[in-house]
């Protein structure tokens, strides 16, 4: 167990969404209230200066988890602690560079809001904005342009500058490069890496792209239907994936130069997070399903000889 307090820690974090069908739908179609358990009991931590990669397929709750951590959503249960305190203190970089900047605001206005919230006096904001722009690879000439005048990659740089202006200790990056062209993706990933080396900021990197996560993360957490199923230092996770889901996920990645013939095939699709199955969430698609998997939720097991590599799977529990 860790001695010092990590920068950010979540304790039993849950976030449910309730949908209440309309009066007619309830009376005539007999539809019931539904609970989507987007995040259902997550304990993760992020160290100072560390990048934690969060991977999973669409609908697994990874974006919701990121948004709870920066305080966009209030948790249904559990806590997010920033160095032991509950006030949210993280910034966010968004997936869609076209929707994440207000189309009616110039770059100056966009950065100005961040600087104002940080308490930078009015007369210093211009200089500060110029510094920020230069840091993310843009020039002062861009200060009075509107988002539509920029390419996707440049917009994402502005988004990074906006987050940076708050001098955050943690930045939650929600699919920061998945909407960008390959050549531009690398530029942004290198930018984030450079920022971390310079300022010691921590990242929660949310991505469905395992190659990106492998490249940029120190540790990785794999999420499935609202729960973390495996977490480990990056190398250890990619070399020795221990949860059947992680194994399938890793073998499904198209890799440059590999033939792709020898892969584990997952059957079926991701079940919905509305009323997930009791017991292990992955049992419906798991090739190693046992009786116990349907009965109780697996407890975390640390892989022997691999510190920090934890897996939530009955199969592992029975082995060790």
């Amino acid at each position: 167990m860790k001695e010092r307090t990590p920068l950010v820690k979540t304790i039993g974090l849950k976030r449910y969404f309730y949908s209440r069908p309309g009066f007619l739908a309830r009376c005539l179609l007999g539809e019931k209230e539904r609970t989507t358990k987007a995040v259902d009991g997550v304990d993760i931590y992020i160290e100072e200066g560390e990048t934690l990669g969060l991977v999973g397929e669409s609908g697994c709750g990874k974006s919701t988890l990121g948004r709870v951590i920066v305080g966009l959503y209030a948790p249904t249960a559990g806590q997010v602690l920033y160095e032991g305190k509950t006030e949210p203190n993280g910034q966010m970089i968004f997936q869609n560079p076209y929707a994440s900047l207000n189309p009616r605001h110039t770059v100056r206005q966009i950065l100005g809001v961040s600087l104002e919230k940080r308490g930078v006096p009015l007369e210093e904001r211009e200089d500060e904005s110029v510094k920020l722009l230069e840091r993310v690879g843009l020039t002062p000439l861009h200060l009075d342009q509107y988002p539509r005048q920029f390419s996707g990659g440049q917009r994402q740089r502005i988004g990074v500058a906006r987050a940076l202006a708050m001098r955050p200790r943690l930045i939650v990056a929600d699919e920061p490069v998945s909407a960008l062209d390959v050549s531009v993706q690398a530029q942004i990933l290198n930018l984030l890496e450079g920022l971390q080396a310079e300022t010691g900021v921590s990242f929660l990197l949310i991505s469905h792209d395992l190659a990106v996560v492998h490249h940029a993360s120190h540790r990785v957490a794999v999420m499935y239907l609202g729960k973390i199923v495996e977490t480990a230092p990056t190398e250890s996770l990619f070399e020795n994936p221990s949860h059947p889901y992680t194994q399938a996920l890793l073998s499904a990645i198209p890799r440059l130069g590999a033939t792709g013939e020898s892969r584990i095939r997952l059957q079926g699709t991701v079940p919905s997070a509305v009323d997930p199955p009791p017991g292990c969430r992955f049992q419906t698609r798991c090739a190693h399903k046992m009786d116990i998997c349907a009965e109780m939720e697996p407890l975390p097991v640390e892989i022997r000889g691999d510190p920090g590599h934890v897996v939530w799977c009955h199969l592992r529990a029975s082995k060790s």
């Binding site: 397929e57 669409s58 390419s151 990659g153 440049q154 062209d181 390959v182 050549s183 531009v184 993706q185 690398a186 530029q187 990933l189 290198n190 469905h208 395992l210 190659a211 990106v212 492998h214 490249h215 940029a216 990056t234 190398e235 990619f238 399938a248 996920l249 499904a252 990645i253 198209p254 890799r255 440059l256 130069g257 590999a258 033939t259 792709g260 892969r263 095939r265 997952l266 699709t269 991701v270």
Partner: protein, 336 residues
């Protein structure tokens, strides 16, 4: 994978596509030659705006307004596509050539049941559309309990299943060629793998040629026999997947490969500098010039034609210049 035959299914020569916008012409495709043989899987790879989708849509004559084919010829299975109209086009679209799009949710009509939509596709081409035919088609694309699925509406299926239905519809007329435009981009990795398997199996079992448009080099590397890398409306390098990806010759191909994280710790990414070329500008010489490390002033003067580099074609002024080869050799172990 099925061994490609000799017969040419698709032949594109000197294709030029222009979008006449209010702000002047955008030359989306600037002279593309592409040939696809029977049973072959060819990847068209490139970033957004490189003209890969416009090339594909031209084959179907489906370019959206104000796009226009201004030069070149397209032949599918010996038929001149540009000379077709009315009935001929109808026989081509969804008949000889089928298309699979990126977003199955928006290509399936949300108001009609799956069965009805499949029936319609068969009816248009004058084929029998009995229930058993439909069930067989759905079975072939690996849909569990096809009888039930026929009565479903699109929203009742997951993205992967919808894409399977689209593929079933595209198979219904036994096409010679399937054009797949980013068919797995909207899907999760585990589902992507399933769909690519399905397409590969169709290629193997039926000998259907496939043109896959993708921005994902890794997908192309696992799925295609041959790839053509496109930049700014032109093919800059074309050859077998193995040759092109393990020993890229064009600086752009090399750059692209350098941009992809490779599951090896400590290998830094080497991005291509700058932005993707703007096609509304007129490119006299090489459009990659402003982003190229190997460029010399001569690159801007004239446009290089595709050079024969033995195992592939490459469009670069610097190819054949002595030090160029050394650089290529240094990159040799590029990816494997």
């Amino acid at each position: 994978m099925a061994a490609p035959g000799d017969k040419e299914v698709l032949s594109i020569k000197g294709l030029q596509v222009c979008y006449r916008t209010d702000r002047g012409p955008v030359r989306a495709v600037r002279g593309v030659d592409l040939s696809v043989r029977e049973g072959e899987i060819v990847g068209l790879v490139g970033e957004s705006g490189c003209g890969k989708s416009a090339t594909l849509l031209s084959v179907m004559r489906l370019l959206p307004f104000p796009g226009e084919i201004v030069a070149g010829s397209i032949e599918v299975d010996g038929t001149d596509v540009l000379a077709l109209n009315g009935k001929g086009l109808q026989a081509l679209r969804g008949g000889t050539v089928a298309m699979v799009f990126q977003d199955p949710m928006s290509t399936l009509n949300p108001a009609h049941q799956i069965g009805a939509q499949m029936k319609e596709a068969l009816r248009v081409h004058g084929l029998p559309s009995t229930r058993s035919v439909l069930v067989d088609l759905l079975k072939e694309v690996g849909i569990p309990s096809p009888e039930t699925v026929l009565g479903y509406y699109p929203h009742q299926l997951s993205g992967g299943m919808q894409q399977r239905v689209m593929i079933a519809i595209s198979l219904s007329c036994r096409p010679k060629l399937i054009l797949a435009d980013e068919p797995t981009t909207a899907l999760d990795v585990t589902i992507e793998a399933q769909i690519l398997d399905l397409l590969r199996q169709i290629n193997r079992d039926r000998g259907t040629a496939i043109v896959l448009v993708t921005h994902n080099l890794a997908v192309a590397s696992q799925f295609c026999h041959r790839i053509a890398v496109m930049y700014a409306g032109q093919i800059v390098e074309e050859g077998s997947v193995k040759d092109v990806l393990s020993r890229p010759l064009h600086p752009y191909t090399r750059g692209l490969i350098g941009c992809i994280p490779r599951f090896r710790k400590g290998v830094p990414l080497t991005p291509i500098r700058g932005q993707v070329a703007d096609l509304s500008e007129n490119h006299e010489g090489c459009a990659f010039y402003p982003r190229c490390d190997k460029a010399v002033p001569g690159c801007l003067e004239t446009l290089e034609s595709l050079l024969d580099a033995g195992d592939r074609m490459v469009r670069c002024h610097r190819y054949g210049v002595p030090e160029y080869g050394d650089v290529a050799a240094a990159q040799d172990s590029g990816c494997s």
